[in-house]
Assembly symmetry: C2
Homo-oligomer: 339 residues x 2
Amino acid sequence: MIIDCHGHYTTAPAAHTGWRASQLAAFRAGGRAPAYPAISDDEIRESIEQNQLRLLRERGADMTIFSPRASAMAHHEGDERVSQEWARACNDLIARVTGLFPETFMGVCQLPQSPGAGLAGSVAELERCVTELGFVGCNLNPDPSGGWWTSPPLTDRYWYPVFEKMTELDVPAMIHVSSSCNPVFHATGAHYINADTTAFMQLIQGDLFADFPDLRLVIPHGGGAVPYHWGRYRGLADMLGKPPLSEHVMKNVFFDTCVYHQPGIDLLVEVIDTGSILFGSEMVGAVRGIDPETGHHFDDTKRYVDAAALPEAGRAKIYSGNARRVYPRLDKALRERGL
Amino acid sequence: MIIDCHGHYTTAPAAHTGWRASQLAAFRAGGRAPAYPAISDDEIRESIEQNQLRLLRERGADMTIFSPRASAMAHHEGDERVSQEWARACNDLIARVTGLFPETFMGVCQLPQSPGAGLAGSVAELERCVTELGFVGCNLNPDPSGGWWTSPPLTDRYWYPVFEKMTELDVPAMIHVSSSCNPVFHATGAHYINADTTAFMQLIQGDLFADFPDLRLVIPHGGGAVPYHWGRYRGLADMLGKPPLSEHVMKNVFFDTCVYHQPGIDLLVEVIDTGSILFGSEMVGAVRGIDPETGHHFDDTKRYVDAAALPEAGRAKIYSGNARRVYPRLDKALRERGL
C-alpha cells in the first residue's frame, strides 16, 4: 500500500473559491459573508476524478492524506472570524471528498489561525474535524502573517494549546505556511521552503518534545533545506549543547518526499533515517510541469523513491509504515477495513 | 592554488568589538561614538595566525577572500550614520589584515546598509574599498532589517545603484544577511539559509541579468536549499515562463561549498555545473565543532570537495578557476604576482 501524506485540494470547485473572494470583499466592505454556495457531489467528484484520483492511479499510489489548498489558507487575510468561516468551509469540503472517496482520501484540516489571535478557535476546529469529520491530522501555519513572521517560535507556549489538543486526540500536524504577502518571498519557491527550515531550527533551539514526548510534526518539502545541510544542523545542535538530533528532535519530526528530482531524494534517504520519511507528492501542487530531463512530471515523486537505493523494508516504511505510525487514526481506519 | 571565497574576520580583536558596543550604547543615549581604539599590528597578526591562517595551513588552502564578520554587520542596529561608521571601521580592519598578510587574504567589504535608507552610502563605501583599499568584492545584505524582511526583492530598482557600481568596478557581491533580531529565525541555522533560498527565487522571478548582464552574485552556504530542490526551481522557472535556469540565472549566479557534510557536497557537484561553484568554508564561522561521525571539523569543506566524484578539471575550477573569473581584481593581483 502506498500512502501519499501530502495532497491538497487545489482543484476545488470554482464556487468554493468564488465564495472566498466574496467573503473577503464583504469583510473589506464591513459586512458579512454571503451564504456558502451549493456545490453538488458531481462537481466534487469531477474535480477529484480528473485530477488527484487520475494522477494517483497513473502513478500507482493508493491513498492521499488530503487537506485544503495550503496557499489559499491565507490566514493573513481578514480577521479571526473570517479565518474561522473559511477554515470551516474548507474542512467541510474536504469531508465531502473523503465521504465520496473513502477508500482513497483521508482528511487533514486547516486551522482558523489569524495573526495576533489566540489559538482557542484552532483547538475547537481541530477537535471538530477529528471527532466529527473523521480527520486524522492538521496543518499548522507557523507564520499566519503570510511572510512577516510576527508569531513566536513553535517552541513558545503560545502554541501549546494546539499541541495539547493534538496529543489528546493523537493526531500529528504538518507544519505548513500559506501564501506570502511579503513581496520578497515567492510562496512555493521561498516561503514554503524557508518555513520548513525555520521550524526545524526552532525545534533544535528549544526542547518542545520534553513537554510533548508524543507530539509528531511532519515538515514538508523534504524538510526544506535541512537534509542538504544536515552537517550544519548536527553541528549547530552540538554548539547549542543539545543531544544528537536523533534523540533531540528526530523521534518526533518527519520529512516528506516532496523533492522534485532524483538527486534530492537520493540525498534525503541517504542522510535521514527511513523511519523518519513519509512519501508525499504535494500534488496537484506547487510544480505542475513535466521535467524535460526525464519526460515525467516533476512532482511524480514515486518515481524517485522507487529508483532510490533503498532496502525494500525502508521503502515500505516510506510508502506506508511511517504514515500509519504518524497518523494512528489513519492506521485504525485501515485496520478496520482489513488493510 | 586553492582559494576560499568565504571567510569572515570572526576573531577580530576585542577592542574592535568593544568599540561597536560603545558605539551602539552612545547611539541609544543620543550621543556620538567614542574614538575608534588603537589596535596594534601584533594584535591583528595574532588573531589571524592563531585562527584563520592556522586552519588554512592545516587544511591546505592558500588564500581567503576575507570580509568582516557577517553576523556583526547588524544593519538593523542604529541608523544609517551608525552603519556607515561601523562599516568603515570593519572594512579598515580588513584592509589591515590584507596589508599584513597580502599573500593570503584579499578583502571584501561590508556595506553601510540601514533599513529604509537609500544606497548612496553603500555605493560610496564600495568605491572607497575597491579603489583605495584594494578590495575585490562586497557583501550585500538583502534584509538589513535583520529578519523582518522589509526591503524590496533584489530585482527591484532600489538595489540598482549598487549593481551599477559593482558593474563599473567589475566586482561581485556575496548575498549575505547578518544576524536576526526576529526570534523565529536562528541566524546561522535559519536566517542565512533562508536568505540564500529567497534571493535565488527572486532572481528566477525577475530578469535582473537582462539589465546587468555582467553582474555576478555569489549565493553562499551552498545556495541555501536550492541545489537540494533543484527540480522544484527548474519547474518553477518553467511555470513562470522563464528560460532554463542555465540561461536565466546561472550565467551570473554562483554557489559556494559551505555545506558541512559529504552527501551535501556530493549533491551540489552532481546538480550544479562545476563552473558555478566556488570553494568556501565560512571559517572561522557558523559551525566550529568536530563531527563525531568523521573526526574532522564540520567546516573543513575541503575534505568533502576532495572526496567528491569530480574530474580534476572540475575540482580545479571549484578551487580557483571560478574564483579568479568571478573576482577579476583578485585574478589580476595574482597574475601580477606571477600566479
